[in-house]
């Protein structure tokens, strides 16, 4: 089930909310959430829901030992076993096809490529499990005593399929002890609606444009057309992904959970390092905390770990070489930036650092888009202008011009919303004015949210659009 569908919004969610608020005790509320989450997951993965339950059990079981064992070495062995299990799941379900394909390509063995369809959200819940095991090992959290509570943490449907990767420590207390205040419900609902609007009104329509350019052979695409499409694609990914995070955070809050922010206006960054402190924060902080600072093969090796982290970050996004290139691409720029040094970077002209970082990010999303490496090569030829010289590609074309005109307001709106404008407006109503200003802001905000919900729902009707010309009456 996806958040941006009418079935989720108007069947699943209301049922879940009604049962949740009908239950008085936190234990019963948790049961409602577990059942809802499993139904939610089983809706898309009727078989692999067992994997989720099993993964929760194995990790919970391991954590019990980690909590009880006195000897550090034994605790480490148990933790290692659990993490090998988690990574094993990922390797089998996400990377086995990719690995075998590459072995075949290198050795020419012709091994049968396993045709495993990856269960939804596996990358997210597996990483949550790993973070939990590591935190238990390091003693930053106490192992959860009850299996069901741990299952709730791992399967909680708002963050199950598309993140953020919520740390156990973030909701540890809230699992058994949370108060749901009116502010949580109203703010949560508004946040979730905002997320839906970001996805349905902005992201989906940007994607339609991107597909017009990149969804077909890009050999003849003009220089401007390539830049235009890849910029829109960057905006699309931001709105799609941060929209989902908003929905997760909002829904979580409606149930009384306070997840950490996952995006912090990434496009206002001045350096690539800063970008990654603002983009998919739960993932980058995961790799920072559980991989970068962890001594591997004896002692921590800064630059080796840096590239390892970026290799893994890339690979996490998908079992395809372009994602690995994408990760390493960022690794290179972060390496360069660390070599230059933060202080020196700060002194640089802001305009130039903005331009530099945006260009790198936008080209990065091109690498992210093209899983087909020959198309990716073509993309580089086009975006660099080389294909204008070698193949006579146009500098600009009519398609780009008209597409820009057709979508100009949407694009301007998207760019504005991707900047912290809304945050400033909110801040004005909240902090700057008196209670009357606050009241106006609140009522205005809630009415806008209602309108956004209605508009998004109407646009969602077109989701199953599939015109057929010769219908037989």
């Amino acid at each position: 089930m996806v958040f941006s569908s009418l079935f989720f919004l108007y069947v699943f969610l209301p049922c879940c909310l009604i049962f949740y608020y009908l239950c008085k005790t936190i234990e019963k509320k948790n049961i409602v959430l577990i059942v809802s989450s499993l139904v939610f997951y089983a809706w898309g993965e009727p078989i692999w829901v067992c994997l989720l339950v099993l993964s929760a059990f194995v990790n919970w079981f391991a954590s019990q030992f980690i909590g009880k064992l006195k000897k550090e070495s034994k605790r480490k062995i148990v933790a290692a076993a659990a993490i090998i299990f988690d990574i094993g799941i990922l390797v089998v379900f996400k990377y086995s096809g990719f690995i075998v394909e590459n072995i075949n390509a290198v050795t020419g063995l012709g091994l049968p490529v396993p045709q495993i369809v990856m269960p939804i959200g596996i990358s997210f819940f597996t990483f949550q499990a790993i973070s939990y095991i590591m935190d238990c090992l390091w003693g930053t959290v106490k192992p959860q005593k009850k299996y069901l509570n741990f299952l709730l943490y791992l399967s909680l449907f708002p963050q199950l399929v598309a993140g953020p990767i919520v740390r156990y420590s973030v909701i540890d207390d809230e699992i058994t002890n949370r108060k749901i205040r009116a502010v949580d419900i109203s703010e949560g609902a508004k946040r979730a609606i905002l997320g839906i609007a970001k996805k349905v009104i902005v992201a989906n329509n940007l994607y339609a444009v991107v597909e017009q350019f990149f969804g077909t052979d890009i050999t003849n695409l003009s220089f401007c057309g390539t830049w235009y499409a890849v910029i829109l694609y960057s905006l699309y990914v931001y709105f799609d992904f941060s929209g989902y995070s908003d929905i997760a955070i909002g829904l979580g809050r409606m149930f009384g959970f306070h997840f950490n922010e996952n995006f912090n206006y990434p496009f206002i960054c001045k350096t690539i390092s800063e970008f990654w402190q603002r983009w998919h924060i739960s993932l980058s902080s995961f790799f920072r905390d559980y991989l970068f600072y962890v001594p591997i093969f004896g002692k921590p090796r800064k630059y080796f770990n840096l590239f390892l982290v970026w290799f893994c970050t890339g690979m996490w996004h998908g079992a395809s070489w372009n994602f690995i290139f994408w990760g390493l691409y960022f690794g290179i720029f972060i390496f360069i930036e660390t070599k230059i040094g933060k202080k020196r970077l700060k002194k640089w002209n802001k305009v130039w650092t903005h331009i530099y970082s945006k260009i790198i990010i936008v080209i990065g999303f091109g690498i992210f888009y093209f899983t087909d490496l020959s198309q990716l090569g073509r993309f580089f030829m086009n975006i660099s202008g080389i294909s204008m010289i070698t193949d006579g590609n146009a500098f600009a074309d009519v398609l780009t011009r008209d597409s820009l005109l057709n979508n100009l307001y949407l694009i301007i709106f998207a760019i504005i919303v991707s900047m912290p404008v809304l945050q400033k407006v909110k801040y004005f109503f909240y902090k700057w004015g008196n209670n009357t200003v606050y009241a106006v802001g609140q009522i205005g905000g809630v009415l806008i949210c209602c309108a956004l919900l209605v508009i998004s729902s109407i646009l969602l009707v077109d989701n199953t659009n599939n015109p057929f010309l010769y219908f037989r009456f």
């Binding site: 609902a189 989906n204 100009l408 609140q442 919900l453 009707v461």
Partner: protein
């Protein structure tokens, strides 16, 4: 005045009252108010979506909406059942078509509208100019289809609907093995849609990807071989509207249909008569010969084509002035569903069709695609919804139709067509004794046997370039070879007077 002043004072008091409250209390209060606004809005929507009757068909999309699936363990564990339940719910939203109209209107605020605006739908790509070998012309379009399935799953709501052409889907279902074996240029000619504004009206144009139509030509040659000289074969391929109305700035994205049609002509046997209507229609392009909001030509456009056919074939043919003109206002055709462009829906057109003076003396017999007789009736039918006005002609495509006219000249015509051809037979009621109408995509018998058994004298292949050059043409060879020797019985004969 005094009253106003008092009110103002009251307001002031109230305001200052609000401002005196603690921020925390105010926050809580407005959170409660927010909930009291959002919850009723949300649950009203839930209620309406639950209790209101759900539509079963979509007029805009011309299709049956998803049905509630039946539960089986197999379908459940494959994930199909749950997916279908959700799809049924999402697909059959109450007032679906009306809500879509609202949604499309909303989307039209995304961009700038000016006098010569062009909206692009689908994925047009530059068509390679055929220097010497035309068979390479639609390489770009070929890529298009391979991407289709991927994109659909990735982004069903992309609004990119141009791939779901029934011509393609029917060709796919009819025989995939044939499709695989065809030359690459025959895969598809679809190259996106543009909606242009000119003279204050919006017009949707399907851009043409190009192609040489060799499968089509080969099939006709084979028919000729099988049928010999006893049956005269005619080929009349109509260009899409884009041949005439595409703005020059988009010429790179629109292959020449004249070239494709000429390429077909050059490949046809000498005994097959090719009727070139590109120029004929071109002479009338300032008239309404193509719908602006639909992918078909208008009945007027079909008239000029039929006239050209009659002239070439030496048939009796009556002038348009002898026909009765029938007008239906407010027609918005299929291109609205394909493009989702609100401008088309807000700019409806006139649907005019022409009935011959001997229409009451002619009888139309309807059969299934396997030639099972289903009943007799009229050729021109009333349609329930103006959006389906093109169904006026025989009510659709998936059938075999026979028209018996009051003419006694021993001439029998069989028309092999796509939906463009539907508008043709009505102009030939004075030219032939019998007219058979067969859709190239929906015919279950052996066409050679069928032609021989019914003593057909003339055979007219007429369709739009899209079908002749694209995947639909693959099916022509099937019509010739399939179900050979199967007995063909015309049960409709009993019903004739």
């Amino acid at each position: 005045m005094e009253n106003n002043k008092r009110n103002h004072d009251n307001d002031k008091k109230r305001k200052s009252g609000l401002n005196n409250l603690s921020r925390k209390g105010v926050e809580h209060g407005f959170a409660v108010i927010s909930i009291m606004i959002i919850v009723p809005v949300f649950f009203t929507a839930v209620l309406l979506l639950t209790v209101l009757p759900r539509p079963e068909i979509s007029e805009i999309e011309k299709r049956e909406l998803a049905k509630m699936p039946e539960f089986t363990f197999e379908s459940y564990f494959s994930g199909e059942y749950t997916a279908d339940v959700a799809e049924h719910y999402d697909d059959t939203v109450p007032f679906r078509d009306d809500l879509k109209n609202v949604g499309y209107n909303f989307k039209s605020i995304f961009g700038i509208h000016n006098e010569d605006e062009v909206k692009v739908v689908g994925k047009p790509s530059v068509v390679t100019k055929p220097d010497n070998d035309k068979d390479e012309t639609s390489e770009s379009s070929k890529h298009d289809t391979s991407e289709n399935s991927k994109n659909e799953t990735q982004q069903s709501s992309s609004g990119d609907v141009s791939e779901n052409r029934p011509e393609e889907s029917s060709a796919e279902t009819s025989d995939t093995s044939v499709q695989e074996s065809t030359e690459p240029e025959e895969v598809t000619v679809e190259n996106g849609i543009i909606v242009v504004k000119s003279n204050g009206h919006y017009r949707a144009l399907e851009l043409f990807g190009g192609g040489s139509g060799s499968t089509y030509a080969q099939a006709l040659n084979d028919f000729h071989k099988d049928l010999g000289d006893s049956v005269k074969i005619y080929s009349m391929v109509a260009p899409l509207a884009s041949e005439y109305y595409t703005p020059s700035s988009y010429s790179d994205f629109n292959a020449s249909q004249r070239e494709s049609i000429e390429s077909i002509k050059s490949k046809l046997d000498k005994d097959i008569v090719s009727i070139d209507i590109t120029d004929v229609l071109g002479q009338h392009k300032d008239e309404d010969i193509y719908f602006r909001t639909d992918h078909h030509w208008t009945p007027l456009g079909a008239y000029y084509a039929a006239e050209a056919f009659a002239k070439t074939a030496g048939l009796d043919f009556k002038d348009l002035s002898t026909y009765k003109k029938n007008d239906m206002e407010g027609f918005v055709g299929t291109m609205y569903g394909f493009t989702g462009d609100a401008n088309l829906n807000n700019d409806p057109e006139l649907f005019s069709y022409y009935t011959p003076d001997n229409v009451d003396k002619c009888m139309t017999y309807y059969y299934t695609t396997d030639f099972q007789y289903t009943g007799k009736g009229r050729f021109f039918n009333g349609v329930g919804d103006i959006r389906s006005a093109y169904l006026t002609f025989m009510g659709g495509d998936e059938q075999i139709v026979k028209v018996k006219t009051n003419i006694k000249n021993g001439k029998k015509l069989l028309i092999v067509k796509d939906s463009y051809g539907n508008a043709i037979p009505g102009y030939l009621f004075g030219s032939y004794e019998e007219i058979y109408v067969v859709d190239m995509r929906y015919f279950g018998l052996n066409l050679v046997d069928f032609v021989k058994q019914n003593n057909v004298t003339d055979m007219l292949f007429t369709m739009v370039s899209y079908s002749a050059v694209g995947g639909n043409a693959d099916n022509l060879e099937n019509l010739r070879t399939q179900a050979k020797g199967k007995k063909i019985v015309d049960e409709g004969l009993k019903d004739e007077e």
